[in-house]
Symmetry: C2
DNA sequence: CCGATGTTTATTGCCTACAATTGAATATCG
DNA sequence: CGATATTCAATTGTAGGCAATAAACATCGG
């Protein structure tokens, strides 16, 4: 399948600017985030490297990078494993993500323009429309784009990077797809609250609205989790 | 100096549990954060690997990890360079750090105990004492321990990790030591405000107090920066 | 004297090979 | 038959070597 990658001209072009390690890293990250490689699954070095037509060296460098990003665990003399995020950790991440997203709201309240507000309202209308049709597969990507647009508009690249990193890690939560669950029309009202807060130009109000939106997602996540699992404690 | 590291028994013990890559990574991270390796400086693979008595393989894996952590930049066919954080990025980091630290305040307000408050007040008294003597070298580590104790007490390991990562990156800001500057007695009043907010048990108040503490550090940082540099804009 | 082009040299990117470790299958003993 | 010791295959950890790249230097023409 990937055997002759080395001789593929388009890939060679990529190698001009990006190293083999970088290519492997992106490719593996994609496999992990799409769920093709599932949490807990082991990554056999020989198998993967031959699959991509490289040696083990670059692959090992790529996995070290993924480890630092929190996408895999490396156990000495045992191998590389796709990270599985526990419920406890997922809840932790939700909180930190809420804080970072709240900051996005706070920053945006100060620099929001009519142009941005128009764009945001367009998003809201689009999501309302989709939600009415209960077409979940369409709703999710738009919802994602909406949040993406918000954090990106802050102009704070550090914030964007961190936020996306959290979203990625949540994809590794055991209950895959739970992250998306409970969304739709329920959360679009929260979205409107956020945009309204931005329009008011009130920093604290916007921060709180953004923060609480993620906190509510966390609560929905936990509910879905407890519905499937024995609630550990009273 | 480090030539016979391989034969040092204590280091071999470490290798039982931790890989050579891991040791190199920690060692390099230490060199970078202490400033022994300065921002912009290039890390010669042969030089470093012979210095530590290893081959280039594990070293390259270690640097990939450091790249993902944001401590070095790797340019293809050019080498790895200690990351230098621009003023713009430093200000960005301050904001995100403020958000995360604010979350720490919010979480702590809900689970603070008399025991923790006692410990915190002891920190405050100690810092007051040191600040009175204007002994900066003593103040800084205590200040660090205070903040460390705060974030750790939240029990949210994700938060702790992120917070420390931000503090580390700020060490790479061009104006080294600026991060520490402007502290002392000025900020200890803010520290008391934070602890008071915790004692009140008011979530939002604590969050805001924690958040603003870091924001004020950011402002002090920017002031010191502009005093040295041409203020870029009006 | 200065800029453009060719050459050298240091350094990185990648690969192959060997050593060390682990986990499991197998054998041995109570 | 069950538990423990032992061997063995699979896999990772590390080392060293060759090719490719880019920067530094020298050379040539204007």
């Amino acid at each position: 399948m990937y055997q002759q990658m080395k001789t593929d001209s388009s890939d060679l072009m990529v190698l001009r600017t990006s190293s083999l390690t970088g290519v492997l890293e992106r490719e593996l990250e994609h496999l992990i985030l799409t769920g093709e490689l599932k949490p807990g699954e082991r990554l056999n070095e020989i198998q993967i490297s031959t699959r991509f037509g490289t040696s083990r060296g670059p692959l090992r460098e790529a996995t070290r990078s993924l480890q630092a990003k929190g996408l895999v665990d490396i156990i000495r003399n045992r191998g590389v494993f796709v990270r599985s995020v526990s419920a406890k950790e997922a809840l932790e991440i939700y909180d930190v993500r809420a804080a970072v997203f709240g900051l996005a709201g706070r920053l945006l309240a100060d620099l929001v323009t009519d142009q941005i507000l128009t764009r945001l309202n367009a998003f809201l209308d689009q999501m309302d429309e989709i939600a009415a049709g209960k077409d979940f597969d369409q709703y999710y990507p738009v919802n994602l784009a909406f949040h993406d647009y918000l954090v990106t508009s802050t102009g704070n690249e550090t914030l964007v990077k961190e936020y996306k990193s959290f979203v990625n890690k949540l994809h590794l939560a055991r209950a895959r797809g739970l992250v998306q669950a409970g969304g739709l029309s329920v959360s679009n009202r929260e979205h409107r609250e956020m945009v309204d807060a931005l329009a008011s130009g009130n920093r604290e109000r916007a921060q709180e609205a953004f923060f609480r939106h993620v906190e509510r997602s966390k609560i929905r996540f936990r509910s879905t989790l407890e519905a499937l699992d024995p609630p550990v404690e009273s």
